[in-house]
Symmetry: C2
Subunit: 445 residues, 2 copies
């Protein structure tokens, strides 16, 4: 009987482990019932009592062949929750409650009588139809091709340069307002580019007002003549997404005010003194909340908000992200976490230059270059300082992708992707914040 | 083609997820090769270019049926490692290096000319044979049974009372020395009890010197006439266990000095002021290093040290612990993490009282009571203060076991066991340290 216990104990499969636990309790209850079995000969009971050891290895010895560590996952989760509960409590005790929803407004508005960012955004939406019609003229060919291409390029350049010039010159424009306005213009730039490309391909234009506005507000960057539509608006789905949108945006603002702002303020001194071990400590301290906020932002933007808009517009294709959390290479992550941008890059940039016979690696590098340019554009212009940290952050993905793809496989690759996400972002954030702080606060004192 | 992508994307099994990632890369490379296929009709390419959306749900929507979150385990591990790396760095920056191997000696010795704990331990080992022979006399029956039982009880009581009286009266006895001495005496008490029980069962005595000494030093508490023996001493196994023993004991001492001591010192103020939120924060702060140290201690004692002794003595039964890390009930944990004690309790306490017809629940409670008594005995006597925290900690396992067994299953039960381990211990530790501190340092000032 003891021998059987042993064999099931060291069962190498998880199933073996399960049956083991079940067996264990069964055996002990059987053991408890022993006195009620009068058929047991006295000698047998005595024998059983005397022998209580058996030749066997410890489970953690490699010779045992045991490998069921299911419980470790639960351990990880419990440890993470408890560690962060402590950090949260420590933060509350140290700083009190810093969350202040009204303060958010001041991020977008310096002067309550001057609303530069909303004006910029409303301005472009009012001028949408002329812009789109200019494109149509080019395609239909009522003017010569050279004039058409020239007009088109002017259009696109204006979409990028006009808002950035406005953001750079207006003193009443806050960084947050600038990011918002530039983001809207960049999205329109990509949509217009896609619209023109598709129209050139199929030489067929539908420029009814409704059609154009549908594409402008739909949660995609790639134009198509007939978008797939969902059969109906599911009310409960819509309400759940709306609730998530409202809840997570509050949570994001609260976490930034309560956790990120004090941590960054405490980081300024080590960064001025260039004290490397303390800089490292601050960077790791910032990494956890920054990563949490990024995860919540991902869910808020790519799941809640985009699904909300799509449900409202009965837009059928809800693939706004794929399973990037399982990605084992950096390339897999970048081509799966932001599907609208990835699709646009693939369709309107990567494939066209591949068709012109460009080498695959050159094309991939070019995609990263364009992506790096837009990252830098969306950060540097609103902050009104050009430091290239975001550009370099994106470009450093190329050697990283090569390294991970070359040397790491499976779970190690996945862990490397997570580490680059968790560590990479706070480094870039701290760089910008430090420089912004030095320019705006050190020069005054 | 896009339809196929979608179907494999939402494959609900992990295997589906794997094939998906493989498919994904295959498809993209196939897509890149498109220009080199002249057989593609121009119209087909155009059609493919135009259509780039398909009716589908987001992965995180419940309607997608997707459930592959393999990457989350890696995320947990990465987050845990990074969080603790930061804590480690913060600790180093705050306190510098506190590890001091020489200081450990002072834990065991107050006065270098008085060695009470080693004297106690050596004393009992010198008197082993008379003690054992007294037992034999009882069994063989050269004296009357009443006298025998009386002598035996005197023997056992002495084994518990003599060292505790010594520890309590000697001022040169440090708490660490006291725990060590009392631990040795308790182990001998249990071995002697088991020896007498088995001898009574089989009325056959082997009291050669070698036989008795083998049992006294063997890593088990249950006596048996013929212990299973391993065929030979594996040198490499022995050396690895020895290396682990030396390494982990250093690590344990280092962690206590560097991490536990400063945390406890910082906890004294909140505990004096009875500031509950800060007490909670301190308790959680202590929980992580305390738990790590307990895990390392478990490995050091139950795997490295006991396997080392067993290998040296060619003791065959290496089951010193079972898979408690997967335990889904509190009872499973207690009956699997410390097999020598569990085996002894089952064989010499639980089963005998069960055979007398005692109810199962009463018997289990009795086992916990005895266990709680010994926990308290091993803590209170060396600290020379009687607070019952350890006793209550053990006794609180009974309602906890009932609660977990009644309401929680599977992973939830496992998580509950982990939480009780991670939280329960530091609470008890802080209680004792606080009281010890109040008695020894507050009264002086």
């Amino acid at each position: 009987m003891t021998g059987r216990t042993r064999r099931s104990t060291i069962g190498p499969t998880p199933a073996g482990g399960n049956s083991k636990q079940a067996n264990g309790s069964k055996q002990s209850s059987a053991g408890e019932k022993t006195p009620s079995h009068p058929s047991h000969s006295n000698g047998k009971v005595k024998k059983e009592k005397q022998v209580c050891h058996v030749l066997q290895e410890s489970l953690l010895s490699s010779a045992s062949g045991y490998s069921n560590y299911r419980g470790i996952l639960n351990w990880c989760v419990v440890m993470l929750v408890l560690s962060n509960a402590r950090l949260f409590l420590e933060n509350l005790l140290k700083y009190g409650i810093l969350v202040d929803p009204v303060q958010v407004v001041s991020l977008f508005l310096k002067d309550p009588y001057s609303w530069p960012a909303p004006c910029l955004v409303i301005g472009i939406y009012l001028n949408l139809l002329p812009l789109w019609h200019a494109n149509c003229i080019i395609v239909v060919g009522t003017i010569s091709e050279t004039t058409g291409t020239f007009l088109y390029l002017v259009n696109l350049t204006t979409l990028l340069c006009f808002p950035s010039a406005t953001v750079l010159t207006l003193t009443s424009m806050t960084p947050a307002g600038g990011v918002f306005a530039l983001g809207v213009y960049t999205i329109l730039f990509m949509k217009l580019y896609s619209y023109k490309d598709v129209n050139m391909w199929c030489r067929e234009i539908r420029h009814t007002k409704a059609h154009i506005y549908y594409f402008v507000f739909a949660p995609t960057l790639c134009y198509e003549l007939n978008f797939p539509r969902s059969p109906r608006i599911r009310k409960s789905f819509l309400l759940r997404r709306l609730f998530e949108m409202l809840f997570f945006i509050q949570l994001l603002i609260g976490l930034v005010q309560q956790w990120i702002v004090p941590t960054i303020q405490n980081s300024m001194k080590p960064f001025q003194d260039m004290d490397f071990s303390r800089m490292m400590e601050r960077m790791l301290k910032l990494a956890v909340p920054n990563h949490l906020i990024w995860l919540i932002f991902f869910y808020w933007f790519f799941h809640s908000s985009m699904n909300f808009v799509a449900e409202l517009m009965q837009f059928g294709d809800r693939e706004f992200y794929r399973d990037w959390w399982n990605s084992e290479t950096v390339t897999y992550f970048w081509s799966n976490w932001n599907i609208p941008v990835h699709k646009w890059c693939l369709r309107h940039f990567y494939k066209p230059i591949m068709r012109r016979g460009v080498n695959k690696w050159v094309a991939q590098t070019a995609v990263f270059l364009v992506s790096a340019f837009f990252h830098e554009y969306l950060v540097s212009v609103p902050l009104k300082m050009f430091r290239l940290w975001a550009f370099m952050g994106m470009m450093s993905q190329i050697p990283l992708a090569w390294f991970v793809g070359r040397f790491l496989r499976g779970n190690h690759g996945n862990a490397a992707v997570w580490i680059s996400l968790i560590i990479g972002q706070p480094v870039a954030v701290l760089m910008y914040v430090h420089d912004y702080y030095v320019i705006h606060y050190m020069s005054q004192s």
